[in-house]
């Protein structure tokens, strides 16, 4: 799929937006994450600190009591007391007083009880009455029993909101029997527990608890929680260092932090409403989202404006450019902008204007060129016509002249005239041919012929010239020579004639040989190679490629020596190419050249090959003398009239002359003729109109053959003539032999 600039811009825009939002969200998330972590960390540190201080307090007290309880003298003292063997104060108790006097740990006092829970000793001495049951004894005993070694325990004793942690350490005698318990009391006020937590750490409504191993709240910043169990928390939930989690309750979300007091298996637990604890974070979150949305909106607006203000004009420009490409150079493109796009639009307009001018100029030039071309063609036609007409007179008259009795000198002169005139005619024909070929006006025919015929037809007229120079002109033909092929025999002959004539011209002595080779052969097609080998002057290697170019002869001196226009080989190449063939030359200067032409052709079938054979006998051979035909010559040019009359008389024909078509019709009204020779271009009524009228009038009657005479040599002439009802065309200038051939072909047989 192809994406337009606008769509690309939108995609880029969308990607930018995504990136912006994503980065903003990532930043926001990390920021909120950090904020959240900060809140959590503060709680974690708070409970950790508290748990550590409680742990230290309990550990210090326990160490102290254990050290003292390990003294054998105390166990011994208890034994003595039990046995009541000593009435007096036991000395060990004095030491106890000394050890625990104003203890910094056990500010709640220290008590020694015997194995039945009777108070034996206390410090300070006024906190309990000696020899009375210790009130907390059942709880202490239970707690000790729970311990694996029942050697120490922590018991919480509460009374009217205040609480004491009793650190109890058992005393053993030498048989490791428990003989008593030493108990130190540490007041645990709410302030003690929440000391570090109450420093503004917890949000409003939050609470800090000290929870014992069984899950009961031992101390709390929330007095009514004392002695209760926490609904959301079990001691088994947590161990180790501080941990902060949110807990989903049915009606609220709590943020709790816990840390353990390992020595007692207790925990410090804080609770607060998550919403309250994270209120600041949430406010930030909302504020950031609002900001993000507002900024995103602004960004989208600005970018959309930019995109539209760029792609709009660009689209208009594109449309305008498309219109110009489609050929609309008239409409102006308006873009009311002063920026680069405006300049671009102006440039486009300027470009369109230039294109408009150029198009007009081109059109004018084209018209002129066409006119010039037409003029050239017309000129050529005219010139050829105008030259051929007098040439007809010159040649015809010369021919006639040679038919009279002349002295040898006169005959030599006349022959020279004839030869010169023939050269001139051939020159004119060359020029005309080349013009036609170059103008692409050559139309190839397709007829059945044989190479033998073609070569014969080429060599026969040239034989005389060759012999006169003392050259041997021969041909070598393949065995397939007799097979008929399809092709344009006229052009093939023209090509061969040009090459052979060229070879004869440039060969002073020796021979010229024409070879025909079938180089490729299949069932339907073939390729023939004509080689014309001479023993002439040859062509230097440097010039070999150029000899086929028009008006080129190998050396300037050649022209002087041999004459010619240099068009012959150019015509060869042009015609060869028209027939899909190739041509070339191999040569050795001084020894001779071999020109070759290769042409494709199609084999003719046996049936097709019959046609020319059948056509041949259609023209009955006649004796040259005494044709005895009545011929109407329609011709306005007096010279041509005189020439034709002379030739026709030579052929033994009676001739009547009419100087235009109208007169010819009148003559035909009164008399009948065996054949009409009709000039095409005449005053009053031309040959074509006259022919049409003749055909109209003779409808249903015998058909008189009409042969057109014309000096024009343009293609389509014959076709026009046939359409006008004429039967054949004889191009001026013509020889007596040509005239005779045509007459013999068309004159009706019965007239003899």
């Amino acid at each position: 799929m192809k994406l337009g600039l606008k769509h690309k811009a939108y995609i880029v825009l969308a990607l930018m937006m995504l990136a912006a939002v994503a980065s903003s969200m990532a930043l926001g998330q990390s920021y909120f994450g950090a904020e959240r972590s900060r809140v959590f960390d503060a709680r974690r540190r708070g409970v950790d600190d508290t748990a550590t201080s409680v742990e230290q307090l309990l550990t210090r007290g326990l160490d102290r009591l254990q050290t003292v309880a390990a003294l054998p003298a105390l166990a011994y003292g208890l034994q003595l007391q039990e046995q009541a063997r000593e009435e007096r104060q036991i000395p060990a108790w004095t030491t106890l007083h000394y050890l625990f006097f104003e203890s910094d740990v056990f500010t709640g006092g220290v008590v020694l009880v015997n194995r039945t829970g009777q108070i034996i000793w206390s410090e300070p001495s006024d906190i309990s009455r000696l020899d009375t049951p210790y009130t907390a004894w059942p709880r202490v005993q239970t707690a000790l029993a729970r311990q694996p070694d029942d050697d120490h325990a922590f018991v919480v004793e509460r009374a009217q909101g205040a609480a004491e942690v009793l650190v109890a350490v058992a005393l053993f005698d030498q048989q490791q029997e428990r003989v008593g318990v030493l108990i130190g009391a540490i007041p645990v006020s709410s302030a003690t527990v929440a000391q570090s937590l109450a420093r503004g750490l917890l949000s409003v409504g939050g609470a800090a608890h000290l929870v014992d191993a069984r899950g009961e709240v031992v101390a709390s910043t929330r007095p009514r929680a004392l002695g209760q169990r926490l609904a959301y928390w079990q001691p088994s939930d947590e161990t180790g260092a501080g941990r902060v989690v949110t807990r989903q309750l049915p009606d609220d979300e709590l943020l709790t932090a816990t840390a353990s007091v390992p020595v007692a298996g207790w925990h410090v637990v804080t609770e607060e409403r998550a919403a309250a604890a994270l209120a600041d974070v949430r406010e930030l979150y909302v504020a950031l989202w609002v900001t993000r949305i507002v900024f995103t909106g602004i960004m989208v607006g600005v970018l959309l404006f930019v995109v539209v203000s760029f792609t709009g004009p660009v689209e208009q420009l594109t449309v305008a450019a498309e219109r110009i490409r489609a050929g609309d150079l008239e409409s102006e493109f308006r873009l009311d902008r002063t920026d680069e796009l405006g300049v671009l639009a102006e440039a486009l307009n300027g470009m369109t204007s230039s294109l408009r001018d150029q198009a007009a100029e081109l059109e004018r030039t084209g018209v002129l060129a066409e006119a010039a071309s037409r003029a050239k063609t017309e000129f050529l036609a005219k010139v050829s016509h105008e030259i051929r007409t007098p040439m007809n007179g010159v040649l015809g008259m010369t021919e006639l002249l040679l038919g009279t009795s002349l002295s040898s000198t006169q005959r030599q002169f006349a022959t020279t005239i004839q030869r010169s005139a023939n050269s001139l005619l051939s020159l004119i024909n060359d020029i005309l041919d080349f013009s036609k070929i170059e103008a692409g006006k050559v139309e190839l025919e397709r007829v059945v012929f044989t190479f033998k015929e073609a070569v014969h037809d080429v060599l026969a007229p040239l034989q005389e010239g060759a012999e006169s120079k003392g050259l041997l002109l021969t041909s070598e033909l393949p065995t397939d020579e007799r097979r008929a092929v399809w092709g344009d025999v006229v052009r093939v002959r023209q090509v061969l004639t040009n090459i052979v004539a060229n070879a004869i011209k440039f060969t002073a002595q020796g021979h010229v040989t024409v070879r025909v080779l079938i180089v490729e052969k299949s069932d339907a097609h073939g390729r023939v190679r004509f080689e014309v080998q001479d023993t002439g002057i040859g062509i230097a290697a440097a010039n070999r490629d150029r000899v086929f170019e028009p008006f080129v002869q190998t050396e300037g001196s050649t022209t002087r020596l041999y004459g010619g226009t240099g068009l012959g080989l150019a015509i060869v190449r042009e015609l060869t190419e028209q027939m899909q063939g190739t041509c070339g030359v191999e040569s050795e200067p001084g020894k001779g050249s071999t020109f070759w032409v290769e042409l494709p052709f199609d084999w003719a079938t046996a049936e097709e090959a019959i046609v020319p054979d059948a056509a041949a006998p259609a023209a009955p051979a006649r004796q040259a003398e005494g044709l005895g035909l009545r011929i109407l010559l329609v011709e306005d040019n007096p010279v041509n009239t005189m020439l034709a009359k002379a030739m026709l008389r030579n052929l033994g024909c009676k001739v009547q002359n009419a100087t235009n078509g109208l007169l010819a019709l009148e003559v035909l009204n009164g008399e009948s003729f065996d054949l009409v020779l009709m000039d095409l271009q005449m005053p009053v009524m031309g040959g074509e109109d006259a022919s049409r009228e003749i055909r109209r009038r003779e409808a249903g009657r015998a058909r008189v053959p009409v042969i057109a005479l014309t000096a024009s040599a343009l293609p389509g002439d014959l076709e026009n003539c046939l359409q006008a009802g004429m039967d054949d065309l004889l191009t001026k200038p013509y020889t007596q032999a040509q005239l005779r051939t045509v007459i013999e072909q068309w004159a009706p047989a019965h007239s003899t």
Partner: protein
């Protein structure tokens, strides 16, 4: 070496001193037999002052050493805190403190009171009755000491790491007792043969 020779001669008397010295001087045979091991005590800070001793060596009688062993009273403490002696050994308790000290035994098996006496004076007592004798000071309850009186001269007191070695125990099968003031005593049976000391470890504690 000299210390060992002296100890041996103190334990076994001069008659055997010569033989003992010969034994000691021959490295291949020295400490060739005995009981060696380690004592661990649950919940104790260190493993010192555990006493490991043979309960009885049947069919043999030993002569108590003539030398007197000192247990000093210094810085309100008996030093050493625990000693083991072969029954019949005499132990002296000199007072090295500024205050008066008293030494008495509340142990029923060997109940005695040496009375209290000042710095520089010393009183002594011969411990004839095998058993764990606890010593206290009437004046200072935090002071205590133990004298483990054994029926054989084969015993050892563990060091800080709990390591002990009872040397030169003749080959045979014996009951070995490990004692510590804060734990119940543990008994074990061990067979001593010629060669390196037999390993024996104890775990004390409830």
């Amino acid at each position: 070496m000299n210390w060992t020779a002296a100890t041996v001669s103190a334990l076994f008397g001069t008659r055997r001193a010569f033989a003992a010295v010969v034994l000691v001087l021959c490295p291949a045979l020295a400490f060739a037999e005995g009981i060696e091991g380690r004592v661990t005590i649950a919940r104790a800070r260190d493993y010192r002052d555990a006493v490991i001793y043979l309960a009885k060596v049947p069919g043999k009688t030993f002569t108590p050493p003539a030398a007197v062993i000192n247990v000093d009273q210094r810085n309100l403490a008996f030093q050493p805190h625990v000693i083991a002696v072969f029954a019949g050994t005499r132990v002296a308790f000199p007072n090295s403190d500024e205050v008066r000290h008293n030494v008495f035994s509340p142990t029923k098996a060997d109940h005695f009171d040496l009375g209290s006496y000042p710095l520089g004076s010393s009183r002594s007592r011969t411990f004839d009755t095998p058993g764990i004798i606890m010593l206290l000071c009437n004046v200072h309850a935090e002071m205590s000491a133990y004298v483990i009186v054994t029926e054989t001269p084969y015993f050892a007191v563990s060091d800080k790491d709990g390591h002990f070695l009872i040397p030169n125990v003749p080959p045979g099968q014996y009951e070995v007792i490990a004692w510590h003031e804060r734990a119940k005593s543990v008994r074990a049976t061990v067979t001593v043969s010629a060669g390196p000391p037999v390993p024996l470890n104890f775990e004390l504690g409830k």
